[in-house]
């Protein structure tokens, strides 16, 4: 930490260039993950520089972009929560943002950071899956269902920067997170569901956020009970410091049942 260079590009082009040409360079947005690991010395490999993207105007904002809602990769969750457009078009994302940490974390946490970390427990990631969001980078657009490749492993190239996330305007998604306490909690399971098209996305039940494809098949046939039964086969939860595999399986089914009941009532 004490010899880590601080780089602050003024434009996204400069950022991309610096990222490409600086050895051991880590992008930094709100710092809610990176700064903890930097201080604890747990990053591997040890970074030589941080690339501060936080203030780049191109990475901020919540705006309509054609037939999509576009959220800047470095827009803090508070900005998403306060955005009228976000509440209108992606209320499940707003709901998820409200469950992240508390005020301090919401003021700094970002979708770009969540995506780049690709934690299996990331609270917004199942929501992105359920919306069929698109990850926009400095060079291409990656559909979210192609983004997560494994445990903390993404499709991003080694010098690729996330610039925005795009959402469709017409998708209805419901969301629930189960954590150990009401605020400031890493999820035990986190789920986002869309009925039409059938999307059941779950975090903390595998090495990455997943789409429960067996359950989705049942759901697309209109078979909610079948979806609840099948979802077990889509998940591979583990026992860890937070919870147990048995609990995660049981709660996955219970929460799916609850979300399907709730969305049926609407």
């Amino acid at each position: 930490m004490h010899d880590v260079t601080y780089l602050r590009p003024d434009t996204i082009q400069d950022a991309v260039q610096l990222y490409r040409t600086t050895p051991g360079c880590r992008p930094l947005a709100g710092g809610t993950d990176l700064m903890v690991m930097l201080h604890a010395g747990t990053l591997r490999p040890q970074p030589r520089a941080v690339l501060d993207l936080w203030s780049l105007p191109e990475l901020k904002g919540v705006r309509r972009a054609g037939d999509a809602l576009e959220i800047g990769a470095a827009e803090p969750y508070t900005g998403i929560i306060r955005s009228a457009d976000a509440s209108r078009y992606v209320p499940a994302l707003v709901a998820a943002a409200r469950t992240i940490g508390a005020a301090q974390i919401q003021n700094r946490g970002t979708l770009g950071g969540n995506l780049a970390n690709a934690s299996p427990a990331g609270d917004t990631l199942p929501v992105l899956l359920a919306y069929d969001a698109t990850v926009v980078t400095d060079r291409r657009a990656i559909p979210i269902d192609k983004f997560f490749l494994g445990y903390r492993k993404t499709a991003l190239q080694s010098d690729e920067l996330i610039t925005a996330v795009r959402f469709p305007l017409d998708r209805e998604v419901v969301f629930r997170k189960v954590g150990t306490r009401a605020a400031q909690a890493i999820s035990k399971i986190v789920m986002a569901v869309s009925r039409e098209p059938a999307r059941i996305a779950i975090g903390s039940v595998a090495e990455m956020p997943i789409r429960a494809t067996n359950a989705e098949q049942a759901l697309s046939r209109g078979d909610g009970a079948g979806a609840v039964a099948a979802v077990i086969d889509d998940t591979h939860p583990i026992d860890d410091v937070r919870s147990t595999a048995d609990y995660r399986r049981a709660v996955t089914q219970n929460v799916l049942r609850e979300l399907l009941d709730a969305s049926a009532r609407e």
């Binding site: 930490m1 004490h2 010899d3 604890a40 010395g41 508390a102 189960v178 150990t180 306490r181 009401a182 605020a183 400031q184 909690a185 890493i186 035990k188 410091v241 937070r242 919870s243 147990t244 048995d246 609990y247 049981a250 709660v251 219970n254 929460v255 049942r257 609850e258």
Partner: protein, 702 residues
Amino acid sequence: MLSRSPIGQSVPRREGVAKVTGAAKYTDDLVFVGAWYGKTVRSTIPAGRLRSISLDPAFDWSQVVVVTAADIPGENVVHLIRDDQPVLARVGGDIRHKEEPILLLAAPDRPTLEAAARHVRPEYEPSTPVYELDGALEVYSTIQITKGDVDAVQGEVIERTFKVGLQEQLYIEPQGAIAIPEPGGAIRIIGSLQCPYYVHRALKRALKLTDAQAIVVQAETGGGFGGKEEYPSMVAIHAALLARKAGRPVRLIYDRHEDLAATTKRHPGVITHRTTVGKDGTLRAQDIEIVLDGGGYCTLTPVVLSRAAIHAAGPYSCPNVRIRAKAVATNTPPNGAFRGFGAPQSLFAAELMVEHVAERLGISSVDLRSKWMLRLGDTTATGQVLTESVGSELVLDAALKAAATVQPSNRPTVRRGRGLSLVFHGSGFTGSGEKKLQGTIGFEALADGTFRILTASTEIGQGTKTIFCQLAADALGVSLDQVVLAPQDTSLVPDSGPTVASRTAMIVGRLVQEAAVEIKQRLGRGEKAPLAIQKSYIQPDSLSWDETNYRGDAYPIYAWACTIADVDVDLVTGEVRVTDLVTAVDCGKALHPVMAEGQIEGGTLQAVGWATIEEIKMKDGGYQNDRLATYLIPTALDAPRIRTILVENPYSRGPFGAKGIGELPMDGPAPAIIAAIHDATGVWLDEIPATPEKVLAACALR
């Protein structure tokens, strides 16, 4: 002259302005030019032998200071009770727990310190660790309390076993001390601590210092709850060894991870009750077994066991009681003091036992408590006759009256329930503890017309400084701002005893009061300031305690509490939310009502956390929950609405009738919450924390 006494007034906290402006200086806020940073290197195995420690020559060791057991000038012991815990494991010696300190480092800056630590190469010979509670390693202490003859009693027998878990004190300011070498071979310790004289005694033994050479000063301390009762001695000795070798001040401040991984926790344990009752619900016999896990070294375990045993029968009158308690060693980090100190553990079991008996007999548990509770003139399990200030009925009535009607849940998957508990907690040290301690304060009338209290009792948030000034100002008939306190510095103040055991207001506050009265009398007789006196605790003749047979007056007095907890249980996830909690507390007299409520509210939430979300999972003898992201305490959003009712039922020897209540709030909520979960769902849990995993599994079995 003061027209109105500050007693019973919620006057502003003495150090309040400093705390709200950020001016209050805690240990890590203090600046010492040229100070180095210290670090403790710790065992990575839970059991075995430390074969060697080598220092990798790839690192330039001339930049740092290294301290091993060989550098300890005095005894390699963190002095407490049994003196079994080394300051540093010695090469060739035993390792008894993961995170056991093996070596100390100091460096001019943190990067060098961290680099040095990475180049320390210990070698171990691991042995098979013991985690079972069967006493295979060592039994630290056994206690038996006998009243009447449980084996001779007939009736219906109900048996149940309960388990209670580890808990971290989680003071928001981590452990830390700064050691400064001073002339004449002296060492000054400035630290985050509750008991300056505990540290003083330990420092003298390890560093071979005289009374005057060991100087211990308490800095503003960000929470203690018992976690800074005995552990700071270890930190202080470590810092002192480094400072002495470095010839300069050394800052040894733990980060949260180290604090969670290595410092003492509440003793977990298993408690079994066999209760014999008559058909009409008469309590005929209580046969209780307690096993507490002390961890790798003894620390305060015998005293924790003592309090657990004495409170184990609950606040009930029973003619035949047998309590067999033992505390054992395991290869886990040593457990230590935490608010309640054994009583929350044993009262958890005692209170749930009432619920189970009530259920078996088909009687309401409130009625059963009314039938069984200790009242004035009754005799406790140790044979103590309660001769005054028995608040059992008062608090039960007050809590029941205050509790709002339960509103049914309006969500089909959320069940609502209510539970109640009745507890008592001995104020002050057990038995002859206060007599042996002979806590002493100093009191001065200064030439400028102010008065100064000299006490080693520490302010750790509970209001010591404010309350002592209230007591003195009242006795002297002066305004509050005419009373000051000397710093909690062992070179300046006598030993009034540790800031523990719910004794500070009641025992030491009484000394402050008596001293102030005496000073006032002497001034009244024409003596002129400056005047200085000392006052020491004198045990009343009416109290008698048999330490060998554990019989007699265990405590000078008891405080009482009744807690009613309301919970929502989510059947989808098993989550338990404590929504409301009412607690009525017989505190004798509320010297400062807001502070008394503050103690109750804070202790209550700690107990709520212990009962619900504060879980520690072990792995290979170490805690898996070793970061604040994984050891979870309640946030403002988790906390229930807590309503406190102060019941004033004076104790003749407390200042204005006040009884100590610092720990009592820890005793009631956990069993009340378990009873509430049962009320909501029909399931009985026998273990805390009542995690959603356990609740969901139990509900599924129904």
